[in-house]
């Protein structure tokens, strides 16, 4: 239902809460902690930061974004459509001899072809990024944590979700504390009927 976007396994009823949220004081501490969480074998977890921490994907063991392939494809599509439209217009739909040049004047089609290629690629980049990031996602259990408002200010967080196979209520919280977290809390799971978490 409302939790589709969270990749919760089918039997989501079995989970009493979303997971554990831990705040770290510095980017350095967060980086080290991410390496530790990665090495401990967790898979359903995330780092949440007010700014992109340089190289954190390495510490988290994330694969590089696949966005470039999409962008190349949409860019080439845009350019191809642009070139096709112009050729079609000037050869078939509305053939007119202008300034003594042949109907198929490909150099004159370059500017519009280029611009449409860029438009296609840029749309691919932005919309593709939204799709990969599942934006907009207005409802998320993390927003139920008061502390979490700091994520757009100075809060550097790690959240481990309770449906991670290695998750254990107490052990995971202790593990994060041991990594130097200054605050560790359990975040309740969202009630789909409850709109208070809207943001």
């Amino acid at each position: 239902m409302g939790l589709m976007h969270l990749d919760v396994p089918e039997a989501s009823g079995g989970y009493s809460h979303y997971g554990v949220l831990a705040r770290f004081r510095t980017a350095k501490a967060l980086y080290r902690a991410c390496e530790a969480v990665r090495d401990a074998g967790y898979s359903k977890w995330d780092a949440l930061t007010p700014f992109p921490v340089h190289g954190l994907e390495k510490a988290m063991g994330l694969k590089p974004s696949r966005l470039p392939f999409l962008v190349l494809a949409t860019g080439l599509t845009g350019a191809g459509l642009g070139f096709g439209l112009q050729s079609w217009v000037h050869i078939m739909a509305y053939p007119l001899v202008i300034s003594g040049k042949p109907l198929f004047t490909w150099p004159a089609f370059v500017p519009v072809t280029f611009e449409l290629g860029v438009l296609g690629a840029a749309l691919g980049a932005v919309l593709g990024m939204f799709a990969l990031n599942k934006l907009p996602t207005y409802h998320h259990p993390l927003f139920r944590s008061e502390n979490f408002a700091r994520v757009t200010d100075d809060g550097l967080f790690i959240a481990i979700e309770s449906w991670d196979p290695k998750y254990d209520d107490q052990a995971t919280a202790d593990f994060l504390s041991g990594l130097g977290a200054v605050e560790v809390e359990r975040v309740p799971i969202e009630d789909p009927r409850d709109d208070e978490g809207a943001a």
């Binding site: 300034s99 003594g100 370059v110």
Partner: protein
């Protein structure tokens, strides 16, 4: 990823005596001298051959000069921008830039003996019947040409020597004031460089067809020059690395950046080349289109001749490298980057050939002299470069930004 610092030994950063690189100057010089002599002998065969020789020689000199000058520009920009990442490759560029005095010497045959064979505007009988050429006499005259060439070379030599010497002095003293001095002087040097390079392009290449003119030509010459220099830097870096130098010094990050610059300037070259062609094609004014017509139509018997050369330039100098150099995996892969850089060097050579040779051949023709001149100039160029490289460290070993450069990571 392991913690703890990466250890970089500067011992490895000098050419080892007795190695292949240490022997390079001698071998290359021998090749250079032999082929220069062969070229001269061939040139003396006939009037035709002399003409061919000067054109081929000009192509070779401009090609290698482009590498030197592009490297000089690379050094200037590194200082002007106070760039950190490029310190590890800057010494290579400083050394390549100092090949300019050699090329000044190799340019002497052109300025002293070859002008009549190369430049139509030196023909007094032609000028006598040509109002346009008469009007251009204040600029296009032999003594003016020679004086200007001397000035260009003097400026470039002075700049190249200044930056290499200051940098090498820093190797010994570690004096930070030298960094500041180079940074302060570099913007002025860029201005001098821009003006001299532009007019050198006008004098040596554009005036081959003295009726033709294009305000863009200086920028075009510049763009190709930088492409070739970046390609040469990449090739040299990778060759030295595979010979066992630069261990732990040059990383994928530096190669990635060099590759990005090569890609960027390839696109820039295409932008300039296309704009120049496009505006002339579109307006279709006879005195301008002439230059392109001779490169697009050749002769009535063989209209495809130069057109194929032009198509190769468009595809080989832009379309193929555009897609080849775009992915980051290629820029970070040593073998593939090497392929890309060598390809761009070849394409820049093709560009220079395409600029010069239609002046001589209405139909595209290759000559043995093209090859011998290239090997002659190239041999001497490699000998000089090798000699410069073997003196002192291969990186600016006490540059204050060396550590920053070594630790550099891309965005």
């Amino acid at each position: 990823m392991s913690h703890g610092p990466r250890i970089v030994h500067l011992d490895q950063l000098v050419i080892r005596p007795g190695s292949g690189w240490a022997r390079l100057p001698l071998i290359a010089a021998a090749v250079g001298v032999v082929f220069t002599v062969v070229s001269v002998v061939l040139a003396m065969g006939s009037e035709e051959n002399a003409k061919q020789f000067f054109h081929s020689w000009l192509v070779a000199v401009i090609f290698f000069l482009g590498i030197g000058l592009g490297c000089l520009f690379f050094v200037l920009i590194q200082h002007a921008a106070k760039a950190g990442w490029g310190v590890v490759v800057r010494r290579l560029a400083e050394n390549l830039a100092c090949t300019v005095p050699l090329l000044a010497v190799l340019f002497v045959p052109v300025a002293a003996l070859g002008m009549y064979d190369l430049f139509h505007w030196t023909h007094a009988d032609a000028v006598a019947h040509d109002r346009l050429l008469q009007g251009k006499q204040p600029w296009l005259n032999e003594s003016g040409f020679r004086i200007r060439a001397a000035v260009y070379f003097a400026v470039w030599t002075a700049l190249a020597l200044f930056f290499r010497n200051a940098s090498r002095r820093q190797d010994e003293s570690g004096d930070e004031a030298l960094s500041h001095r180079m940074a302060r002087f570099s913007p002025v040097a860029v201005a001098l460089f821009a003006v001299t390079l532009t007019f050198a392009g006008f004098d040596w290449l554009m005036s081959l067809e003295p009726h033709w003119y294009s305000t863009m030509f200086g920028v075009y010459f510049f763009a190709g020059t930088i492409v070739s220099a970046l390609a040469a830097l990449i090739v040299l870096t990778l060759l030295l690395e595979s010979a066992g130098y630069f261990r732990g010094v040059i990383t994928g990050e530096h190669l990635h950046d060099l590759g990005k610059l090569l890609f960027a300037f390839t696109v820039f070259w295409a932008y300039i080349a296309f704009s120049q062609f496009f505006l002339i094609w579109y307006a279709n004014i006879p005195e301008e289109t002439n230059w392109f017509l001779s490169r697009l139509h050749g002769t009535p018997e063989n209209p495809a001749s130069w057109r194929a050369a032009t198509m190769l330039l468009a595809i080989g100098h832009f379309a193929i490298p555009f897609f080849f150099l775009m992915p980051r995996t290629i820029k970070r892969n040593r073998r593939l980057l090497m392929v890309g850089a060598l390809w761009m060097l070849a394409m820049h050579l093709w560009d220079v050939f395409w600029l010069v040779m239609p002046n001589l051949h209405r139909e595209m023709t290759f000559s043995l002299l093209d090859v011998t001149s290239l090997l002659g100039v190239g041999g001497l160029f490699a000998a000089t470069a090798g000699r410069l490289l073997s003196r002192g460290s291969l990186v600016p070993s006490r540059d204050p930004r060396l550590v920053e450069s070594l630790a550099f990571e891309n965005i």
